[in-house]
Amino acid sequence: MADNDYLIRLEGLTKTFSINSSRGFRSARLTAVNDVSFDIRRGEVFGLVGESGCGKSTLYKAALRLIEASSGSVYYQGRNLYEMSFRELMKVRREMQVVFQDPYDSLNPRMTLEELAAEPLRIHKYGGRARRLARTEELFAAVGLPVQLIKGYPHQLSGGQRQRLCIARALSLSPEFIVCDEAVSALDVSIQAQILNLLLDLKEQMGLTYLFISHNLSVVRFVSDRIGVMYFGRLVELAGKDELFDHILHPYTYALLSAVPEPDPGWIRKYAVLQGSVPSMLRPQAGCVFHSRCPHGDRLCTQTPPELRDFGGGHYAACHKAGELNLSLDTGCLAEKG
C-alpha cells in the first residue's frame, strides 16, 4: 500500500474498559477493540461489518479520538491524532463528522432545524448569521430537504427527512471524512434506498471518504469499496468487496455471509448454520477468538492467536487455516421450502 495516499491509518488500536461489577470488588477488564490496524484511502467507502458487541462503534470513537484509546495510534493525513493538543484536535475534528443511527434521537427536540443544521458552523465560528443561513439553505438543497422547513422543529419531520438533516449537519463544514454508524439501519427499506443513493451521490460530488459501519451485510456490500469484518473486538478479514465475497478466507466471514437470507423463495441455505453465541468478553479467549464456534478449529487455533496475514491483492485474514478451506458461497438451488 503506497505510504501516503491514505486518508486515515489505524495502527494497533486497542481500547479496554474496566467494568466494576456490582458483585466482587475487583473490576473486570473488557477489551472491546483489540489491536486493529487498517487504512482508508481518500475517496473510498470502507465498510465495517460485524455483529452487535464486536466493537465496531468503539473502534470509530477511538479512531476519531472521541474516546481515548488504551494503546495504538491514528494517523489522519500523516499526523497522529493521539499526539495532538486539544486545540489542534478540535481543528482536525472539523474535517471528521459522524452520522448516527437513530434519527429520532439524534436531533435536539428543542432546537429549530436551522439551528440544528448550523450548529457545527456556530461551534467552529464560521462567518456571521447571514452567511450561516445561506450555507444552511445550500445544505438543505444538497440533501433534498424543502427549504421552507428551515424554521420548523424535528417532530415535524419523518424518519428519512431527519436522517437527511443529520447528513446536512455533518456536511456543513465540508468535511473530508464521514463515519456512518448504522446510518440506515433504523430506516424503512424504501427510505433506506433513498439515503444510500444520497450518500453515494454526495460522495462523488464532494469527494468524501466514508467509514460505513453496519450489521446489515447486504447494505455494506452495496455501498462499500473495501470491507473489513470484525469479531470479538478483532479485525478477522479485510478485502475488496468482490474479492471478499468470491474468495472467503475466514470461517467467521463465511458463516456471516451464508447466514444472510436472500429475497428469493428458491434460495435455500446449503451449509450448516453457525451454532452457539458470542462468548462473554469478560472471559478473554486464549488463541483464536473464534475457535469455540469454528467447525475447522484444531489445537493450534486454541493456543496462538492468528495474525492478520496478507494473501495478496489487498486480501487480509486472521486465521491459521485461511486459504486451505473451501468456503464458496454459490447460491442454493430450488428445494423443498424451509
Binding site: L64, L66, M90, R93, R94, Q97, V98, F100, Q101, D102, D105, S106, L107, N108, P109, R110, M111, E119, P120, I123, H124, C166, R169
Partner: protein, 270 residues
C-alpha cells in the same frame, strides 16, 4: 400553550395558587383590622359577622393575620425554593453530565444532607444561624436541595446518553457548551415538576417550624406563627389554627396539583 391549559390539574392548581398570590398582594384592601397590636378585650371571639374568622388569643382578627401572614410565608417559601432549585439543579446537572470526581464528591455531600430528616436539618441550621426571617430561607431551603439534586442528576444522566448530545460532542462542542445548549433545556421540564412540589414542601416546612415555635420570630406575622399562637387554645378557640391550617393546606394542595398536572403533561404515556 393551549394543551397546557387543557390539563385540569394545572388549571385547578394554578387557580388556587393565583388566588393565594392575589390575597397576599392585595392584603391592605382585604383587611379592615390591624394585623398586629393588642386588643385583649375581645380575645378568642368565635367567628362572627365582623370577625369572619374570629379573633386570636391576642384579640387580633384572624382573617387579617392570615392574609398578612401569607405575604411572609409565601415570600420565605419562594426564596427557600429558589435557593434550593438553583443549588440542587446546578449540582445535579453537572454531576449527572460530567460524572467523574465531581459526581462522587457532590453525591457524598448530598448523602450527608439526606441522612437528616429535613425538619431536623432545618432545626439545626436554624440553631446555628439564629432565628431571623432571612435565615429561615436558608434553613428551609437547604434541606430541599437533595430533592432537586436527585431529579436533575437523574435527568442529566439520561439526557447525556441521548444521541444528539453525543453528536454535539463529536462535532467538537466543548463539554460546557453542550451542557448548556443540549442537556439543560431538556432537563428543565422535569425540574419544573419538582419545583412545584418543592414549593409545597417549603410552605409545609415553614408552617411546621412555626408550629414548633422554631419558625419566623415573634413580631412578623406568618402562618406558622398564627398556628403556634392558636395551639394552646386548640380546644377552647379552635378557629385560629383551624383557618390558618386550612389556608396552608389549600396552598400546598394547589402546588401539588400543579406539579401533578405538569408531570402528566410532560409524560404522554401516563
Amino acid at each position: 400553550m393551549r394543551t397546557l391549559l387543557s390539563n385540569k390539574f394545572i388549571m385547578l392548581g394554578g387557580a388556587m395558587i393565583l388566588a393565594m398570590l392575589l390575597i397576599a398582594l392585595f392584603a391592605p384592601l382585604l383587611t379592615v383590622y390591624p394585623y398586629d397590636g393588642l386588643d385583649l378585650a375581645n380575645k378568642n371571639q368565635a367567628p362572627s359577622l365582623e370577625h369572619m374568622m374570629g379573633t386570636d388569643p391576642y384579640g387580633r382578627d384572624v382573617w387579617c393575620r392570615v392574609v398578612y401572614g401569607s405575604r411572609v410565608s409565601l415570600m420565605v417559601s419562594f426564596a427557600a425554593v429558589g435557593v434550593a432549585v438553583v443549588c440542587g439543579s446546578v449540582l445535579g446537572i453537572v454531576s449527572g453530565y460530567l460524572k467523574g470526581g465531581f459526581d462522587l464528591a457532590a453525591g457524598r455531600l448530598i448523602d450527608i444532607m439526606m441522612a437528616f430528616p429535613s425538619l431536623l436539618l432545618s432545626m439545626i441550621i436554624g440553631v446555628a444561624l439564629g432565628p431571623s426571617t432571612r435565615n429561615m430561607c436558608l434553613s428551609i431551603g437547604i434541606p430541599l436541595i437533595p430533592i432537586f439534586y436527585r431529579v436533575a442528576r437523574g435527568a442529566a444522566l439520561s439526557v447525556g446518553e441521548r444521541t444528539f448530545v453525543i453528536a454535539s460532542e463529536s462535532m467538537g462542542s466543548g463539554r460546557f457548551r453542550t451542557m448548556f445548549r443540549h442537556v439543560l433545556p431538556n432537563v428543565l421540564p422535569q425540574i419544573f415538576v419538582v419545583l412545584s412540589m418543592g414549593m409545597g414542601g417549603s410552605i409545609l416546612a415553614e408552617a411546621s417550624l412555626g408550629f414548633l415555635g422554631l419558625g419566623i420570630p415573634q413580631p412578623t406575622p406568618s402562618w406558622g406563627l398564627i398556628v403556634n399562637e392558636g395551639k394552646p387554645y386548640m380546644f377552647t378557640a379552635p378557629w385560629t389554627t383551624g383557618f390558618s391550617g386550612a389556608f396552608i393546606a389549600l396552598t400546598i394542595w394547589g402546588f401539588n396539583l400543579l406539579g401533578d398536572g405538569l408531570r402528566d403533561h410532560l409524560d404522554p404515556r401516563v
